[in-house]
Amino acid sequence: RDTQLLFDLSKPGRRATRLPECDVPARDAAELLPAAALADAPPALPELSEPQVVRHFVNLSKENMSVDTHFYPLGSCTMKHNPKRNERAAALPGMAHVHPYQPEESIQGMLRLLYEVQEYLSEISGLPCCSLQAAAGAQGELAALLVAASYFRDIDEKRTKVLVPDNAHGTNPASAAMAGFDSVTVKTLQSGAVDLDDFHAKLDDEIAVLMITNPNTVGVFEPAMRELADAVHERGGLVYLDGANMNAILGVSRPGDFGADMQHFNPHKTFSGPHGGGGPGAGPICVTEKLGPYLPAPVVGKRPEAGDERSDQTSPSPAGGGGRTLVPGAPPLGEGNYYYLDFDRPKSIGRVRSFFASTGVLVRAYCYMRTHGPDGLKRVSEQAVLNANYLLSRVKHFLPVPQGDRCMHEFVATAAKLKSERGVSAMDLAKRLLDHGFHAPTVYFPLSVKESIMVEPTESESKETLDAFAEALFRVTEEDPELLHDAPHTTPISRPDEVAAARKTVLCYCG
């Protein structure tokens, strides 16, 4: 492994880009800008040639496992195949090279697409009002909790607490805190279900929101979902659904139908947006009618073409018969609607980010929904659940699965016995799997299961791959503990010293 950084490759005088000569009359920058604001020299970035940059990054890329190269059963992350057609669509100049402040009439194709995404997400969630703005699932949580806060302020109720099961993603309590709520933890059972006694004990009139992940993070559909939601509603609270696990229930069950008032989607999980090594994502949220006015603005609206007052004023010739050509040379829209950004939402919580949304992610989600359709989306969930259950049925024979014999899209096995009997931890298994050519499952989450190993195969893997993974995992559990403690053995590096990294931090190149 070549550990040279870009900075190590730098040599004074090297260039990879050549900018054109200035073709307008130019003056010295010092004449145009105040001396106090000017730097003596530009920042000390590395100086490189194009071939160096290309080779550096192409080789760097090869040190990553990825969905396109390996099975990646990282529980809770839904590492499904990213269809290449979606990437092509998102790269079209008319999708990629458009500015967020373009006049509406010059961006009707995009607005129409975004309007449809709002509609589709509402249909899938069973929650009629949608805002696409949030930049990630966690920001969707925050936005929704701010919606709840505004709602309660509006109806003059003071509620300060948010209920969160202990097996929820850490983002749930963190978002609650950011939104100004106190987070109250609810216990869960071995099965992953909410401990109803604890829940009822903690539910009071100060509870603003119950945040619930359903199916939950051990891959179980909350058995008391209806009871939980009814109890919260009865006390005047709201139910928030963490949509991270929507991949299990598309077209099967809708949060709006099982009691949620709000939810976010993770389009980069459920609708196949690539994870990009950590991002970007998006976090659109859907809410009930009564919460709709509080959503972040703008949202996309639609009205009949004839109602386009603006164009009546300024456009010389609004075409008759539906279908005005707004972009020179482009065919007419043809369906008689005009799409616009609706800023006129006085109760809105405001913005959680600049510009419209993570549009590029939403374009991919749109493509995914359009190429699957209602049957295809349901089939996605069916196959995701089939794959997870099949893998569970193979794994449970050598690694116990406390939640039982059934799961939705993922399951959580435990290496607790292996740990106590042979000293082999979940981490050891995870690391050793890398040697066998598999990305590791999620380990040590949720904390409610000891030595947990959380496996989410997704629907885009074949039975052959699942079989190979189960066999590898089994083989690993049988291997010499010493071998496992030192694993992985075939990767460029092995077991980095994380303690040293945090104690004596080196967070940038200092050459």
Binding site: V98, A177, P280
Partner: protein
């Protein structure tokens, strides 16, 4: 249904292994009463070919900067993106991987993020960068939250009106329920006056947020503003334009404690506003309050240098409601793009890019003012964008004239600044040619003598 993964035979074998007779049986844990019981009401599935044709038709309805000429700015810019950036970011191993939890099979991502952090540190002149946030606005809001956390009981936040209005709105949303007092210092002359700022400061002020160059493109007297803030014991959160740093002083050099920016200019397409790249850097003393992922260097068990996610005790998956933020990912792919972009430009490329923006925007502003129809709204010097006042007060007509000519002319400011309803914010990047600029002047100033075709021809000759 465009994909078939498991074949019908596979399905049967798998169901048998599980011990159920149908896929439906697997869903038994979903109570019947909570099932949808009907197909989703969505359009039927398309194949890839139909999708392609459909998306092509939608895309045609969007005037795009590859064929139109874009003078829009306000935080998203039509800067040039070298092809290498796309090549790197479209490597499967980068874009189909996830957060590097398993460092052994993620050194590619981890090293790239470490390089990104190093680039940002050098760019900003500050000590520490995280591995990125969502966008400029949320980075600004996180900067404010950091300041509040660092400020103990200080509960006042002062914003310059020259800070991007959507950043100000985002900050307001983030702090809405946190008992924070938000104060905005006006900028009647296009810049933040030190006296006004000092007036807004008190010993309850956690931070001041200023933008350099500001939303109007004007260059602020940032050093003086920072000094005033520090004198009041407040931290300085600086929003900056990364391209401007080819010429301007770095935030760390003029006194910023936290610097944030929208990193879209660094190699990411405008894509109608997102996803983008939130850059945030801070001084050493604030590092443990930093939100988001941070990559650190360490050694592996054999002593090899390597990279890992570090300082994770700040984060929500460990600290839950006590975390510095709820952010649990980064914008890795765009941080990668920014790293590649900066590597390709180098110091000289960044400087030349900045200078082209400066010269060309100045040229356009002067040409417009010569016409008599327009005047600069503010006297302050500007970098790559500027506010122009239409003496005929018809910004809507100007925008429409631009569209008709295939030009995206400028951003009308009335939406955010009612007093600037007769103004446009116009940005000129290094991509704009003199011919394009001259043509814009012609379009905006009006062209009564019908010489348009000549200029159009001139533009076309420019293709040789």
């Amino acid at each position: 249904m465009p994909f078939t993964y498991n074949t019908p035979e596979d399905e049967q074998e798998m169901l048998a292994a599980i011990g159920v007779s149908s896929i439906d049986e697997l869903f038994e844990m979903v109570p019947e009463s909570l099932r949808l019981g009907r197909p989703l009401d969505l359009p039927p599935a398309m194949g890839e070919m139909e999708l392609d044709q459909h998306l092509n038709k939608l895309a045609e309805q969007n005037l795009n900067a590859a064929t139109a000429v874009c003078f829009l700015g306000g935080g998203s810019y039509d800067h040039f993106v070298p092809a290498v950036v796309d090549v790197v970011a479209s490597r499967s191993e980068f874009y189909t991987s996830y957060t590097p939890y398993q460092a052994e099979v993620a050194q590619g991502n981890l090293q790239a993020m470490f390089e990104y952090q190093s680039m940002i540190v050098r760019l900003t002149g500050l000590d520490v960068s995280n591995s990125s946030l969502y966008d400029g606005a949320s980075a600004a809001a996180e900067g404010v939250l950091m300041s509040l956390a660092a400020g103990g009981q200080r509960k006042r936040v002062v914003l310059s009106a020259g800070l991007h209005p959507e950043y100000r709105e985002t900050i307001a949303t983030y702090v809405a329920n946190l008992g924070v007092e938000l104060v905005t210092v006006p900028t009647p002359n296009g810049v933040t006056e030190a006296a006004d700022l000092i007036e807004a400061l008190d010993d309850n002020t956690a931070c001041v947020v200023v933008q350099q160059p500001n939303f109007f493109g004007c260059v602020e007297d940032a050093e003086t503003l920072a000094q005033a803030a520090h004198d009041a014991g407040a931290l300085v959160v600086a929003a900056f334009d990364p391209i401007s740093l080819g010429l301007l002083k770095r935030p760390g050099d003029w006194g910023a404690d936290i610097a944030v920016c929208e990193g879209q200019s660094l190699g990411t397409a405008m894509q109608y506003g997102g996803p983008y790249l939130g850059v945030i850097a801070c001084s050493e003393k604030l590092v443990r309050r930093m939100p988001g992922r941070i990559v650190g260097k360490t050694t592996d068990r054999r002593g090899k240098p390597c990279y890992v996610l570090t300082l994770q005790t700040r984060e929500q998956h460990i600290r839950r409601d006590k975390a510095t933020s709820n952010v649990c990912t980064n914008q890795a792919l765009f941080a990668l793009r920014a790293t590649v972009y900066l590597a390709l430009l180098g110091p000289e490329g960044l400087k030349e890019t900045a200078n082209l923006c400066l010269q060309k925007s100045r040229y356009l502003a002067e040409r417009l003012c010569e016409s008599g129809r327009f005047e600069r709204a503010f006297d302050a010097p500007t970098f790559k964008e500027f506010v122009i006042r239409d003496c005929e007060n018809d910004t809507e007509g100007l925008v429409q004239d631009g569209l008709d000519a295939g030009y995206l002319t400028g951003v009308p400011l009335g939406r955010w600044y009612p007093e600037l309803a007769d103004c446009l914010l116009i940005a000129v990047t290094e991509k704009r040619t003199k011919a394009e600029i001259d043509r814009l002047v012609e379009v905006l100033v009006g062209n009564p003598d019908g010489t348009t075709s000549t200029t159009e021809q001139e533009v076309a000759v420019g293709i040789g």
